[in-house]
């Protein structure tokens, strides 16, 4: 009868396993077909609540990132300008051979100037600025005389004088150059290149844009190693190259982080495998545990993708918590599978563990169910990922593992040699709890200010070595690093341009925007009207310069031909302006037009936020700050959710355990959280997103330890299971604390601290 029951149950768990996994896979395949592929989302803005501004930020960010993520700046530094220029030329010629560059610039050519003059001559009547119109209106005589005087000046080109007696072309050029000067780097044209003398040294700039392939990370075609090796050849005779731009940082962080993490992971995995092999003396538990991790992670990924049509990168980071739970289930099963001789089959092992496993599953899943109701898409993804992954892992342990044949030899040798009773647990547990609480109390007193949720994404990446030096130096030399901007939206191109002009008057710092180059049509009409008023004056100017009546008529004809043409974004612009417009003008998305006003510096953030607040359809974005505060909100929400979970789990546990046991169980996550908060505060760190993710993992694992412990109080095997589970998790995750890649280090440190506290509290 008993056997029959067992068989029926096996069928149920096996069937549950098959149905659940098949269902998720079917949904996944359906989603893949529907979306024509699998997408990974790495946009940090998508973690913020969905509203109109996040969409705007995301669109603006996409445009700016598209430009900046592939741009590189290389400065050739030497005390002697000629040597600096010479080295820059050598490097430029070397880099030009590579196909990794979309474009590469060293020289400022004469073609660019003539191209610009031709273009401006065509649009000269449309491009007067407010001040110039004012002078024309108030002092027409002065304006005409100045035009004549200009003709006499040396270095003033007379190429277009017969169709431009007022030198409108030159005025437009000055306006454009002023706008470019405000927007750009501190480098200036000199001897055919862009250069700057700074603190006794000359810097000559090479600017480049990498192709998609050239900027691809973890690819052999990434241009950065090629640039470094090419530059090394020409770092002679006092020349040094200074590298800056996102591709250098992306390359450095991705290659060092991936190398480092793979080294740490490999070593820790080998250590875990050795321990497991030493304990089980069989590869079956190791392979089965590994398969469980892989299958549950895969199913978790499929479940998230099926529901959301994309998977956020941070969901995967958070998903590492799955590995801990998965290992836990597997170890508890296989320790009894190997050591508990009284359990004759896999099904009996499962039956024996079912209460602990089920309670552990329910308590953990409950946290994630609650998290699913959070108003952040990212948190929903994390909840689905962990929920489905842990369920998969549970079903593998209960549905598949019992099918594995029980080994002939059933003894874990080392277990017999461990003495779990070498101290008085009752006293030790009280001392331990007191120590943790005292440590927390002292930390609150001494480092109280660090007990807060605070994220700063700029702290998540630490530059090192030469790249750090280069970035600092390049920042000083180029004097350019825009990090905040105003985003202007409107229903039409003209509405956006008009808003820009209006906003420019209020902006306290130097800035650049599309309307600096393309004034709204309404303003161009004003400029043309002013020029029309000046047609009679043209006669005087022409005669003063020796021209005749037919020349005046020609000029009038030129004006008549141009007066109904307006400069718009559809025009072909000189290449230097085109590049700027690509960054400043985002264009139309879903019926809304977007552009960016880019200040070269931000003197007062609040003033900008106020400007944006007062104007409809205008947004101020400080990417670093906005993402950081988005992470703050997310972190706080996770904390609140887990606070609620904690209370619900407490109530739930009361149905299965006595009051004393319930309090004991509930005290473990509390002590873990106290330990993590205290250690972070004492080391001068605030609680931030990745620390909280670590805390959540510890929360689940810590509960598992104590539930298994209380469910099987007298079992040495279960106690050993907890020890082994702690060791494997502490090694695999704790070793991440050694990483210099900040997010990984934080998660590792939080897990190690919390898990250690939970383990000792459980064991005592």
């Amino acid at each position: 009868m008993k056997k029959k029951n067992g068989s029926a149950k096996t069928d149920f768990y096996f069937l549950a396993f098959v149905v659940f996994h098949a269902a998720v896979l079917c949904l996944f395949l359906f989603a893949v077909v529907k979306n024509k592929g699998v997408k990974l989302d790495s946009d940090l803005f998508s973690m913020m609540p969905e509203n109109s501004s996040s969409k705007v930020y995301s669109i603006a960010d996409e445009n700016i990132s598209k430009q900046s993520s592939k741009n590189i700046f290389i400065l050739a530094e030497n005390e002697d300008f000629k040597k600096a220029k010479n080295s820059a030329e050598h490097l430029y010629n070397e880099l030009k051979k590579s196909a990794a560059f979309e474009n590469l610039e060293l020289y400022t050519d004469s073609l660019a100037l003539s191209q610009m003059q031709e273009f401006l001559n065509k649009w000269k009547f449309n491009l007067l600025n407010e001040n110039q119109i004012k002078v024309m209106e108030t002092s027409p005589q002065e304006f005409c005389e100045k035009a004549v005087q200009k003709a006499y000046q040396p270095a003033v080109s007379l190429d277009f004088i017969n169709e431009d007696p007022f030198f409108l072309n030159q005025m437009a050029l000055e306006n454009y150059l002023l706008a470019v000067e405000k927007s750009g780097t501190a480098m200036s044209p000199g001897d055919g290149v862009l250069r700057r003398s700074f603190e006794g040294k000359w810097y000559v700039m090479i600017k480049g844009e990498l192709t998609e392939k050239g900027s691809a990370l973890a690819s052999r075609e990434n241009a950065v190693p090629f640039i470094y090796s090419a530059a090394q050849k020409f770092e002679t005779d006092g020349t040094r190259f200074v590298f800056s731009g996102t591709p250098f940082h992306s390359y450095a962080s991705s290659s060092s982080a991936s190398k480092e993490i793979s080294v740490i992971s490999t070593i820790s995995l080998i250590a875990v495998a050795v321990i497991l092999f030493f304990v089980f003396r069989s590869p079956v538990p190791i392979l089965a545990s590994l398969c469980s991790i892989l299958i549950s992670s895969g199913i978790a990924f499929c479940a998230v993708y099926s529901l959301f049509s994309n998977v956020h990168l941070l969901t995967l980071v958070f998903g590492t918590s799955l590995i801990g739970s998965s290992i836990d289930y597997s170890l508890h099963f296989f320790i009894n599978w190997k050591n508990s001789c009284e359990l004759k089959s896999g099904r009996e092992v499962r039956s024996y563990l079912l209460k602990g496993l089920s309670l552990s599953l329910i308590s953990t899943e409950l946290c994630y169910v609650l998290l699913f109701f959070a108003p952040f898409a990212l948190l929903k993804q994390m909840a689905v990922f962990s929920f489905s992954g842990i369920l998969s892992s549970f079903l593998i342990t209960t549905g598949i593992f019992p099918l594995i044949k029980i080994p002939a030899e059933r003894k874990i040798l080392i277990l017999g040699k461990i003495n779990f009773n070498f101290f008085n647990r009752k006293i030790a547990s009280k001392i331990f709890a007191a120590v943790v609480l005292c440590f927390t109390f002292i930390s609150v007193l001494l480092f109280g200010k660090n007990f807060k949720v605070k994220n700063n994404i700029s702290n998540l990446y630490e530059m090192e070595g030469r790249l750090k030096e280069d970035t600092i130096l390049s920042y000083k030399v180029l004097n350019y690093s825009p990090s905040s901007w105003l985003i202007v939206t409107g229903k039409s191109e003209q509405e956006v341009l008009e808003k820009e002009m209006k906003l420019k008057e209020k902006i306290p710092d130097k800035s650049i925007c599309t309307s600096d180059f393309i004034p709204p049509v309404s303003f161009q009409k004003k400029s043309i009207a002013e020029n029309e008023k000046f047609l009679p004056y043209a006669e005087d100017v022409f005669y003063s310069l020796g021209f005749e009546e037919n020349d005046v008529e020609f000029y009038k004809d030129v004006f008549a031909e141009s007066k109904n043409s307006f400069l718009t974004l559809n025009e072909k612009f000189p290449s230097s302006i085109e590049t700027l417009l690509q960054m400043l003008w985002i264009g139309e998305r879903d019926g809304t037009f977007y552009s960016i006003i880019l200040p070269s510096e931000i003197s007062n953030q609040d003033e900008y936020r106020q400007i944006a607040k007062l104007e409809e359809g205008v947004f101020f974005e400080n990417k670093v700050q906005d993402i950081s505060s988005g992470l703050d909100n997310l972190t706080k929400l996770i904390l609140v959710m887990f606070g609620i979970s904690y209370i619900v789990i407490f109530v739930l546990l009361k149905f299965f355990f006595t009051w004393s046991e319930t309090f004991k169980i509930a005290s473990i996550p509390f002590l873990s959280v106290c330990a993590i908060c205290s250690v972070f505060a004492a080391t001068g760190n605030s609680l931030e997103f990745f620390a909280i993710i670590g805390m959540v993992l510890v929360f689940g694992l810590g509960l598992d330890y104590i539930i298994y412990r209380i469910s099987n109080k007298s079992s040495r095997t279960e106690l050993f299971g907890i020890v082994l589970s702690f060791l494997t998790t502490a090694i695999s995750f704790g070793s991440l604390a050694l990483s210099s890649f900040v997010p990984v280090h934080i998660i590792g440190a939080a897990i190690f601290t919390g898990l250690t506290a939970a383990f000792f509290a459980t064991m005592l």
Binding site: E142, Y152, Q153, P154, A155, P189
Partner: protein
């Protein structure tokens, strides 16, 4: 007869030396700035293919160690001063416009290059220009081509012409003509006359060269 022949040869050699007196580039350079301040009058003629007739103007000029200044008086009153670090323009309405080399490196470079013309420093001149110098019959010429590729986008050549003669141990050098060829082949020709030399600038002249 023999004595007469020798006398003729001697006379010929002496006269040749006197009329074909040649000066070195260094002597001309240092002669140009021997005087603290050189001032005089100038006429300017701007010629361009786009014009029907040349644009003629005239006025006074100043060459000092601080910089050079053109004070146009006809057909209107304007001032253009070029110093090593900035360019000053004053229009006929008295509006002063300063283009500072410290804030605009391109103008800084132009100002430095142009002022090196009148510094009398061979080193500075050769640093900024490729120089072709010649001197014959007391008349010296210099053809200058800017080395800086950015400047050469605007300025193709500058030709200077003047006279030089020995005055005791010193060389007396005068700049008489200057021709500027722009990149588009427009020409600006200057003629300098009535040069006088003095030690100090008047307050008004100081004002022309001043940034403030």
């Amino acid at each position: 007869m023999k004595k007469k022949f020798l006398f003729l040869v001697f006379n010929f050699l002496f006269l040749s030396a006197a009329f074909c007196e040649e000066f070195s580039f260094d002597e001309i350079c240092s002669g140009l700035v021997k005087n603290e301040i050189t001032c005089g009058s100038f006429t300017q003629e701007k010629k361009s293919a786009s014009l029907k007739r040349p644009l003629k103007s005239s006025g006074k000029y100043l060459i000092t160690k601080e910089g050079v200044c053109w004070k146009t008086e006809k057909p209107f009153n304007t001032i253009l001063s070029v110093t090593e670090n900035y360019i000053v323009q004053i229009d006929s309405y008295g509006n002063k416009n300063i283009t500072d080399g410290s804030s605009n490196e391109v103008f800084g470079c132009i100002a430095e290059t142009l002022s090196s013309l009148f510094k009398g420093s061979r080193e500075k001149l050769e640093q900024n220009f490729t120089v072709d110098f010649s001197c014959k019959d007391k008349i010296w010429t210099m053809a200058l081509e800017p080395k800086d590729k950015t400047i050469s986008l605007i300025l193709k050549n500058i030709f200077l012409e003047g006279t030089a003669e020995n005055q005791g141990e010193a060389v007396f050098v005068q700049l008489e003509k200057m021709k500027v060829v722009q990149e588009n082949d427009d020409l600006i020709e200057y003629e300098f006359a009535n040069q006088i030399y003095k030690k100090e600038l008047s307050d008004e002249e100081k004002e022309w060269l001043s940034k403030n």
